[in-house]
Symmetry: C2
Subunit: 193 residues, 2 copies
């Protein structure tokens, strides 16, 4: 039961912060959405910042769940798993009418300059996300599916960063084109031997 | 004199919105920073939104000034001009301790989902920025400096979008590495014949 309440607060908080950003999200609206009385917030979180930082943990857990399942699927060649993951995200954003973007990218934009605890946590989150890509790209490279000269770590971080930028353009254009372009530049140019 | 006051409001507004985002910028602090009495704001702008949209025009004008001068410099080969522009931006962000990011990318992130007038204006801004790159990349391609199969329009938009994402990572890491990586992926992979 204890875990259930905290989980509900985190889930609703993650949803609202994804839509509105961190600053525009009020604790009270999160608690209302989670159907939890105000007093119990401080049983789980020291303050709004602590809550925000734990929401980042929650996002990374969500990413791990979705991406990990696809990227670790040994029945597909490693680069096909990357393609499948990007296609899954494109499907997800189509269902959201090309809004929202990546919550980690959004918070990086909003909070990267403004709060050192957020900055450190977001750096950890990027590292965690990149770790999944580094693993699958290394597997591809050792099979000979990627150029030997490609730096797998740099490629993983650039894949995520350029995806975040493509999501900004997706929001402005309300179109999947920036995400399709991103995928095509990686598969047709950067991954090409 | 009329033009002077409006220009001062736009300049200070552009500076403060770049630092804090649109929502967190108050009209009063812009007028205080510009040393302009409140009443005169409405001589130039219908409301805060109209002001924000005109600040976007101002940003595009700034970009045109800086980028246009470098990208139109006929004494350098076209791709060297692109490299020089990216290096100039890296120098600029170094002087800002790797904070701020691109004001158009920031507003795309903040406002892309929330306001249709901003969305339309930001789409126009992206198109305007891409136009400069399309021109110089076309020049490079017609000289044989780019692969013939490269879609110059897609490349221009992907260059800007992935730059915006690299800037998010720059803010999180407080480091030029994401910007250097961006440049290297374009010059060593995407532009490579």
């Amino acid at each position: 039961m204890e875990k259930g309440v905290k989980q509900r607060i985190l889930e609703k908080g993650a949803e609202i912060i994804h839509q509105k950003g961190y600053y525009h999200t009020g604790i009270q609206e999160v608690l209302d959405a989670a159907n939890v009385p105000k007093g119990s917030f401080y049983n789980y979180f020291n303050n709004k910042e602590d809550f925000g930082l734990q929401v980042i943990d929650y996002y990374v857990g969500q990413f791990d769940g979705m991406a990990g399942q696809i990227l670790d699927n040994q029945s597909l060649p490693p680069l096909e798993r990357v393609r499948k993951l990007l296609d899954s995200f494109i499907d997800l954003f189509r269902s959201k009418q090309y809004t929202l973007g990546c919550p980690i990218g959004n918070l990086g934009q909003e909070m990267g300059d403004l709060s050192e605890p957020f900055q450190k946590k977001l750096k950890w989150a990027l590292d965690a996300m990149a770790g999944l890509y580094i693993r699958v790209l290394s597997e591809a490279q050792s099979r000979g599916d990627l150029p030997q000269g490609l730096d797998v770590r740099q490629t993983a971080f650039f894949l995520i960063a350029s995806w975040h930028g493509a999501l900004i353009r997706m929001k402005i254009e309300r179109s999947p084109e920036p995400l399709e372009d991103h995928k095509n530049f990686f598969f047709n140019r950067i991954f090409k031997k």
